[in-house]
Amino acid sequence: MSKARASLTRTSLVHLALISYAIISVFPVFLTLINSMKDRNAIFRNPMQLPSPKTFDLVGYYTVLGQGDFATYFQNSFIVTVAAIALVLLFGAMAAFALSEYRFRGNTLMGLYLAIGIMIPIRLGTVAILQGMVATGLVNTLTALILVYTAQGIPLAVFILSEFMRTVSDDLKNAGRIDGLSEYSIFFRLVLPLVRPAMATVAVFTMIPIWNDLWFPLILAPSEATKTVTLGSQIFIGQFVTNWNAVLAALSLAIFPVLVLYLVFSRQLIRGITSGAVK
C-alpha cells in the first residue's frame, strides 16, 4: 500500500491499535515504577495513584541500596548476561556459517540437531546439569550460569543466523577466497559485518530471558557471592511478610541495565551497511 493513498481513518485506526498495545505492554512497568516510590500504605490503598508529596517515599530504594550486596548482584547479572551473549553470538554465528556455507556429510542432520534445542526446554535437564556442575565443581560460580545460558541460547542463534548467512552473496565470499583471505577472515571480516542486524536480533532475544531468569541462579549459584539481581530480590519476598517497597525498587533498578543493553543492540538493528556490497 502506498503511503499517499492511506486514508486518515485507516492511519488513525492503525495508530490506535499500536498505541493501545503499547499502553498494555508498558503498564506493568509503569505500575512498578510509580509504586516503588510510594510508602507502604499508599501501595496497598491506592496502587494506581501517582506518588504525591504525601505518599512519596524512597524507603524501598534505601533498603535495596543499603543492603550493600545489591551492587554485587547487579555485577553478577551483568557479567553473566554479557558473557553469555558474547559466547552465544560467537559460537552461534560460527556454527551457522559452517552450516550455511559448507557442504559436508550430515550437514542437514547437524542443523536439525542444533534446532532441536529450540523445542526442548533446557530446564528438563536441570537435575543432570546440577549433577554435572557438582561433579566439575562449578556449583556456585558464575561460570556455571554462563555455560548453561550459552547452551540455552545457541540453538536459536544458529537457527536465525544460518538463515541470514545464506543471504550473504556467495560471490563476495568467493572474491575473498581469490584475494587470499582465510576462511576465518571471510567469516569475521566479510560475513559478520553483513549479518550485524541479525546478530543484534539474536542478542536481544538471548539477553532478556537470561537477565530475568530465576531458576538456574537459584539452583546452580545461590551463594551470596554469585546471586543475580532476580535471585537477590527474592530475599524481600517472605512466606508471611513481603517488603513490597524493596521488591518494587529492586525490580525498577533491574530494568535499567537491560534497557541500556537493548538500546545498544537496537541501534545495530537499524543500521545496515550491506548496501553497495552487491547489487
Partner: protein
C-alpha cells in the same frame, strides 16, 4: 603469461552430472568466451578453473602447472563477478589492494599498481569512496580494477555485464575489449549473451548440457555451425530449421537457413507464405511468415520494408547459404 589446459574435467553434484568431460586448450593471450543457455555448466566450469569448486575428476593446468589441489588465491587468477562482490566496508583503493596486501606485497608496490589500474579505468576520483557511494557501472569498473591490480595469469569474468543497463553494457564491453588489447592477458569470460560472445571473443566455446558443442572463432561458428544446437544458438534472430523432406532435399534430415540469407519478394520465389507479424527495428525489418510448404519462418531484411500482416510473399534462400544437418543433428559438409 597464461595458458590453460583442461583435460576431461567432470563435475557432479550428487547424481547429477553438470560437466561431462571437458577438454580445452587456451593459448596465452587469448580471449575465450564460454557461452550457452542457463544451466549448461558454463559458470560451474569457470568456478572449477578458479578453484572455487572442486572438479570431480580431470586435470587443470595453468601455465603448465597442475592446479587441481592449489587454493584459488595461489592459482594466479583474478575473477570479476556478476554481482561485483566488492567489500562493502573497504574503500575503492583498499578493495583493489586487498589481494596484494594478503599476499604480503610491499606498500609502495600496492600503491603503484592501484594507481596504474585506476588510471586505466579512470577511477582516480573515487579511490577514497566506499562501494555504496558508486553507481553500478563504477562498481563494475572497480571490480575489474581489483582483478587488474593482481596482474594475474588468467582473468576470469563471470557474466560481468549482466547487471548493467543496455547503454552501460556497450561501454563496458568496449572497455573490456580495450583492456584485453592493452594488457594482452589471457581472459576467460562467461556469458549467456551471444552478442557479447561474438563481439569480444577470439575463440568461443559453446556449451550445452555440460558438453562442449563447438569451439571456434565467432565467424566459424556463424558460418559453419557444427550441429543444430550451435546453429540455433548463434545468430539473432535464430536460424530457421526446416524438415528436409518438405523442400525435397534427400541427403539430410534438417535444412537450416539464417533469416538474413532469405530474399523476400511479392512476385515469386521458392517458398510461398503469408506474413503473420512484422517487426520494424529501423536498420532491420524482421518478417515472420507462415508457409504451407515449410511452416513458420523468419526473414531479416536490411533497412525499411513495408509488408503488412496477411500479405502473400515468396522467400528464396540465397545460394550456398543453406546448412544441412543429419538425423543426429550434426552438420553435413
Amino acid at each position: 603469461m597464461g595458458s590453460l589446459q583442461l583435460k576431461s574435467v567432470r563435475k557432479s553434484f550428487g547424481n547429477v552430472d553438470v560437466i561431462k568431460g571437458i577438454d580445452l586448450d587456451v593459448k596465452d593471450g587469448e580471449f575465450v568466451i564460454f557461452v550457452g543457455p542457463s544451466g549448461c555448466g558454463k559458470s560451474t566450469l569457470l568456478r572449477i578453473i578458479a578453484g572455487l569448486e572442486d572438479a570431480t575428476s580431470g586435470s587443470i593446468t595453468i601455465d603448465g602447472a597442475e592446479v587441481v589441489t592449489v587454493p584459488p588465491a595461489k592459482r594466479g587468477i583474478a575473477m570479476v563477478f556478476q554481482s561485483y562482490a566488492l567489500y562493502p566496508h573497504l574503500t575503492v583503493k583498499d578493495n583493489m589492494g586487498l589481494g596484494l596486501k594478503q599476499a604480503g606485497a610491499p606498500k609502495e608496490e600496492i600503491e603503484k599498481r592501484v594507481a596504474k589500474a585506476s588510471a586505466m579505468l579512470s577511477l582516480e576520483k573515487y579511490l577514497s569512496r566506499r562501494p555504496a557511494e558508486l553507481s553500478g557501472g563504477q562498481r563494475q569498473r572497480v571490480a575489474i580494477g581489483r582483478a587488474i591490480v593482481r596482474e594475474p595469469k588468467l582473468f576470469l569474468f563471470d557474466e560481468p555485464l549482466s547487471n548493467l543497463d543496455a547503454a552501460l553494457r556497450v561501454n563496458t564491453r568496449l572497455e573490456i575489449a580495450r583492456l584485453h588489447r592493452d594488457l594482452k592477458a589471457t581472459m576467460i569470460y562467461v556469458t549467456h549473451d551471444q552478442v557479447e560472445a561474438m563481439t569480444l571473443a577470439d575463440k568461443i566455446v559453446v556449451l550445452d548440457a555440460g558438453v562442449i558443442q563447438q569451439v571456434g572463432s565467432p565467424m566459424e561458428l556463424y558460418n559453419k555451425p557444427a550441429n543444430l544446437f550451435v546453429a540455433g544458438f548463434i545468430g539473432s534472430p535464430a536460424m530457421n530449421f526446416i524438415e528436409a523432406s518438405r523442400v525435397g532435399v534427400a541427403d539430410a534430415k534438417t535444412i537450416g537457413v539464417r533469416p538474413e540469407h532469405l530474399a523476400l519478394s511479392r512476385d515469386g520465389g521458392e517458398w510461398q507464405g503469408k506474413v503473420v507479424h512484422v517487426e520494424h527495428l529501423g536498420a532491420d525489418t524482421i518478417v515472420y511468415i507462415e508457409s504451407e510448404k515449410v511452416g513458420l519462418f523468419t526473414v531479416r531484411l536490411f533497412g525499411e520494408h513495408h509488408y503488412a500482416v496477411d500479405d502473400v510473399v515468396y522467400a528464396t534462400p540465397a545460394a550456398g547459404q543453406t546448412h544441412r544437418f543429419d538425423a543426429d543433428g550434426r552438420a553435413i559438409r
